[in-house]
């Protein structure tokens, strides 16, 4: 066991866990932040996506010992960012969600895309969101919502 001081959504959080514990389980089990979902556990589905210093990161495969001082942003904190807010609003406006399980990861990846490219093309969206799976197949509405959010950005 080891003690780690994590920066989560702008707040400092201390956890005492095994160094090999994936960040996902630190968030969910230790910090009780259950918005980030466990999907596959091998970074194949994107449900566990959070941001580490702005980089969309699969938290299920990142041991907490490798997080370091990087700022962690989860679905619970992403609305503090104007782009995050715009994406969440677009998700509601376009009624994207069906079962909803993958959607926190979808939103985190969409925010990362729009932070890099305010006006993404269909190809940009398909490539950037290609690692986020949705068993309800909400892909068409996800693309509409990303485009809608992009129109809110200057």
């Amino acid at each position: 066991m080891a003690t780690y001081q994590l920066k989560v959504n702008g707040q400092s959080k201390q956890v005492n866990v095994d160094p090999s514990t994936p960040l996902l389980w630190v968030l969910r089990e230790e910090l009780k932040m259950t918005g980030t979902k466990y999907g596959c556990g091998i970074s194949a589905c994107g449900a566990c996506t959070v941001h580490l210093d702005g980089v969309a990161t699969r938290s299920c495969v990142v041991p907490v010992e490798l997080v370091g001082n990087r700022a962690i942003v989860t679905i619970e904190g992403v609305s503090a960012d104007p782009i995050g807010r715009a994406v969440q609003d677009a998700w509601v406006d376009k009624d994207v969600v069906q079962c909803g399980y993958c959607q926190s990861g979808q939103i985190m990846s969409a925010v990362a895309l729009l932070k890099a490219t305010h006006k993404p093309t269909d190809t940009d969206i398909e490539e950037s969101m290609g690692g986020n799976l949705c068993r309800c197949a909400t892909y068409v509405r996800i693309r509409e919502a990303i485009k809608s959010a992009s129109q809110q950005l200057k």
């Binding site: 090999s20 994936p22 091998i42 970074s43 194949a44 994107g46 996506t49 980089v55 969309a56 990161t57 699969r58 299920c60 495969v61 990142v62 041991p63 490798l66 990846s109 969409a110 990362a112 895309l113 932070k115 890099a116 490219t117 940009d124 490539e127 950037s128 969101m129 290609g130 690692g131 986020n132």
Partner: protein
């Protein structure tokens, strides 16, 4: 008496000059004999060393990220990287799915994800395989590696330094564990042997084998 002495001295001088001349000519001949084989030997040694380097460059730990396609490969069978990972414009993936979305600064053996500083694909100019994932020939890889228009301007010492110090090169000899806990395979040479072979090849003027 005097005449005999002069004759003796003359004979000694002639013998001395002849001996010196013979030694000089013989030495020259030896030099000439040695010089040509030495050059050939350097080139031969360089080509032999390159072949060793080539076996490393085309091993999965290296060539999996020197693809000609828009995706990296993984595994000893060099299959397409899973999870729809793509190259992206600069070889670092795309915003929602960056290389560093999973690959951290060092190996994550507990989750089986390899890692190293600035994990990314080699540029397309350094592709060492065709679009059907078949490794290029030794001659073609050698030409690419020595082409400073393709290799970020690296000369011989630069290539040697790259092979000696570059973190992602060094990673090949410390590739961590697979998700099932087994160790990833290593290149066919040790890193020391790889660096030594690169040094021999660079010292020989970086000769490339003939052919396509």
């Amino acid at each position: 008496m005097l005449s005999n002495s002069r004759c003796f001295i003359r004979i000694v001088l002639i013998a001395l000059v002849s001996t010196v001349a013979w030694i000089v000519l013989t030495a020259s001949a030896i030099d000439l004999r040695d010089q040509k084989p030495t050059v050939q030997s350097n080139r031969a040694d360089g080509l032999a060393a390159w072949q060793k380097v080539y076996t490393v460059l085309t091993s999965p730990r290296c060539i999996n990220c020197h693809t000609a396609t828009n995706y990296p490969q993984q595994g000893d069978d060099r299959h397409r990287h899973f999870a729809n990972v793509i190259r992206g414009p600069e070889g670092w993936g795309v915003p929602g799915l960056n290389c560093m979305s999973c690959h951290q600064e060092r190996n994550a053996d507990s989750t089986g994800v390899p890692g190293g500083a600035n994990w990314h694909l080699a540029p397309l100019s350094m592709q060492w395989q065709d679009t059907n994932d078949r490794p290029f020939s030794s001659a073609a890889v050698c030409r690419a590696v020595t082409d400073r228009a393709k290799n970020h301007g690296l000369d011989g010492p630069g290539l040697l330094k790259h092979h000696t110090e570059e973190p992602l090169v060094l990673w090949a000899w410390n590739p961590g564990r697979r998700p099932d806990g087994s160790a990833r395979s290593l290149p066919p040479l040790t890193h020391a042997e790889f660096v030594a072979a690169t040094g021999t090849w660079v010292g020989a003027g970086m000769p490339c084998p003939p052919g396509k």
